[in-house]
């Protein structure tokens, strides 16, 4: 009984975070903002859903779920960084909107070599 309640809370919270991330992906105006919505709420949502699932399983299978969330936590920032860097390099990011821009100087320095 108590397992069902804990599992329900985590599953609902996780699905809500996934939905929030998707809404952000649709509503936010430009690529860097969308990457925020694509990375953080999704990882948190998946974490909650997997916790909610793990509560309902035996120990061996729940241990494999830890592996899944570990992959997600490691790979989401990497993809976000690669996509953002590609966007910056290809001129898809509007640099006038950035508050701090440390990359322009570095890229100019590297291209000047």
């Amino acid at each position: 009984m108590i397992r069902d309640i804990v599992s329900s809370v985590f599953l609902l919270g996780g699905a809500l975070f996934c939905l929030l991330g998707a809404i952000g992906l649709v509503r936010l105006p430009d690529l860097p903002a969308r990457l925020q919505a694509a990375t953080k709420p999704q990882t948190l949502g998946l974490l909650f859903v997997l916790i909610g699932t793990a509560v309902r399983l035996e120990f061996e299978n729940a241990a494999t779920l830890v592996l899944v969330i570990l992959f997600q936590a490691v790979t989401a920032p990497v993809i976000s960084q690669i996509v953002a860097r590609s966007a910056y390099r290809t001129g898809a990011v509007d640099t006038d909107l950035l508050v701090i821009d440390e990359l322009t100087a570095r890229v100019a320095e590297q291209d000047g070599k």
């Binding site: 609902l12 699905a15 992906l25 694509a38 859903v49 699932t53 989401a76 690669i82």
Partner: protein, 88 residues
């Protein structure tokens, strides 16, 4: 529990639909890559809910595989976009 599972699957379906909307609309290729990555995460979450419904742990390794394949795909596609645009 049935109501909870219905709600969870409904929310995940709505999230998947919104992601597909961004995937179809997205102005640039990189927007689409980001949307596809989110879509893979939602698929993994939905299969986790499936596992929770049937209490059947036999498909757990598949989820890890799908997550990894999604990572490799998105990373490769983003690198390829960068290379294409530079040679243009």
């Amino acid at each position: 529990m049935t109501i909870v599972f219905g709600l969870v699957l409904g929310m995940l379906s709505a999230a998947a639909l919104l992601t597909v909307a961004r995937l179809l609309k997205g102005p640039g290729t990189l927007d689409r890559i980001a949307a596809l990555d989110v879509f893979v995460v939602i698929i993994v979450a939905a299969s986790a809910v499936y596992i929770a419904i049937y209490r059947d742990g036999s498909t757990v390794p598949l989820m890890a595989a799908v997550a990894l394949v999604g990572f490799v795909g998105s990373a490769t596609a983003a690198r390829l976009v960068e290379r294409w645009e530079r040679h243009r």
